[in-house]
Amino acid sequence: MQAFLHQLLSGLANGAIYASVALALVMIFKATHHVNFAQGELAMFSTYVAYTLIEAGVSYWIAFVVTLAFSFATGVAIERLIMRRLQHASALTSVIVFIGLLVAVNGLAGSLFGSSIKQFPSPFPSQAWYGTTYLSPHELGMIVVTLVVLAFVFVFFRYTRLGLAMRAAAENPASSRLVGIRVGWMLALGWGLACVLGAVAGMMAAPILFLEPNMMAGVLLYGLAAALLGGIDNPWGAPIGGFIVGVLENLVGAYLVGSHLKLAFALFIIVAVLVFKPSGLFGRTVVVRV
């Protein structure tokens, strides 16, 4: 029973990471109908930036915030410089550009920061008072930080003028222009926010996964699985999907297939959702009129 509870709770902690990545993917998908295949690599790159700052002597939380600002700016820049030209491009063209971004960022990280495995610090000391037998301080911290960030995001979208404008721009760009919203900048903002979410996921995951250029590849896959499970166009479904996938990953890995097949399990979820219920648990089924 103890082991089960441990798997469950630690699964929730992992789920927090997947929830952030999934929400980032859904945000960009809702606004642009593209899946950001490069989200994992961008998060990894941001984590390296944080690492560099911390190594240079900057305190953890200041490095954290500066990294978030950097990620935001990067996201905005990518949207304005590259993605806006893909507005009317075919699915093939956009997918290839995203893959190109993935590869380029991965290569750049390896080139700038080296590919040796690095230790990334956790702001939650391993002997802290809030550690329990089931959940280490860092795991608890992961959950709390993620929930705080998710709360910020939801309050932003629900109650602020800008958040409303972004939701409108994602839902109906033409009508949004008619009320005076600068749709292009809303998309850029969405990208910026998505990259911030990715950076949070990266910095929370790095102490566990160890920082190296391919750190986020598996996380991206799980984030994709979570986003699809929750409904690729549903911002509420994404975090729920994330926590479900996190728990399932641990339980299935512990009791069914062994930890060596965890990625295959993510693949299984992705294919199963796509083939049997593409709209996920909470998404809207889109009927295409021909």
């Binding site: 003028r161 409303l164 404008a165 939701r167 409108a168 839902e171 109906n172 033409a174 009508s175 949004s176 222009r177 008619l178 009320v179 005076g180 919203i181 600068r182 749709v183």
Partner: protein, 237 residues
């Protein structure tokens, strides 16, 4: 006196398909103008050309003396143009309240709340459905919401694309009555696209008649109603 809205020799095309050829029309400040014509004459395209959404244009379009042809839609809207588009353009996934808030997106003054109350005065059903998702409203209710949303920005010129479409006659009469009231009280100019000529004649002071992308007649409604061109444009006689 310069008109509020002026189109001079405007051509418009979707891709390579030309729809408007040399359209010239104007709307005076506080004026009520109808744009009539059969299906496919280019009425909706004219409104889209004014807002520069989805159509390539050539020629001059001026609003309050400023050239707006080629400007981004959101900039044109910021100058004081409101547009109730074909199909209403409601944000279906958002609530009625959010739709109205979006209508007032550009407003930074303190009167937004009182304007919302004014909308309830014109369209009481919006108060009843305030927190409902807009997609669950009936066609007529969505039309009212669309008009209210456009009104929330307090435009100087309101463009309406077939406000009567798909609505019961009683509702249409009500909407047109409200439009007349708003025009008189707020001195808001309106350019109404309508297929239903009779309705338009009752509302407006000036009519432009479009036929295959060209303005073939213009003048006060009585003059147009007695004119052969209307009969030709609509009935092909």
């Amino acid at each position: 006196m310069t008109a509020l809205l002026e189109l001079r020799g405007v051509d418009a095309a979707y891709g390579n398909t030309a729809v408007l050829r040399g359209v010239t029309l104007e709307v005076a400040e506080g004026g009520l103008v109808a744009l009539l014509g059969a299906n496919g004459a280019g009425k909706t395209t004219t409104l889209r050309a004014i807002c520069n959404s989805g159509v390539r244009t050539r020629g001059e379009i001026r609003f309050a003396g400023q050239r707006i042809d080629g400007q981004a839609t959101e900039r044109i809207v910021r100058l004081g143009v409101g547009h109730v588009p074909e199909g209403r353009g409601t944000f279906l996934g958002l609530s009625v309240e959010e739709n109205l808030r979006l209508g007032g997106y550009l407003r930074r003054d303190r009167h937004v709340a009182s304007d919302t109350a004014k909308m309830f005065g014109y369209f009481p059903v919006l108060r009843d459905r305030f927190h409902q998702q807009a997609g669950t409203l009936s066609g007529g209710e969505q039309q009212m919401l669309a008009i209210a949303r456009a009104l929330m920005s307090r435009p100087k010129l309101l463009l309406l694309d077939e406000p009567s479409f798909g609505l019961a006659p009683i509702l249409v009469q009500e909407i047109f009555r409200i439009l007349r009231v708003i025009n008189q009280e707020e001195r808001m100019a309106m350019l109404v696209v309508e297929q239903n000529a009779r309705l338009a004649f009752e509302l407006v002071g000036q009519v432009f008649l479009l036929e295959t992308g060209r303005v073939v007649a213009s003048g006060p409604p009585q003059q147009i109603a007695a004119d052969e061109s209307v009969r030709r444009a609509y009935l092909g006689q």
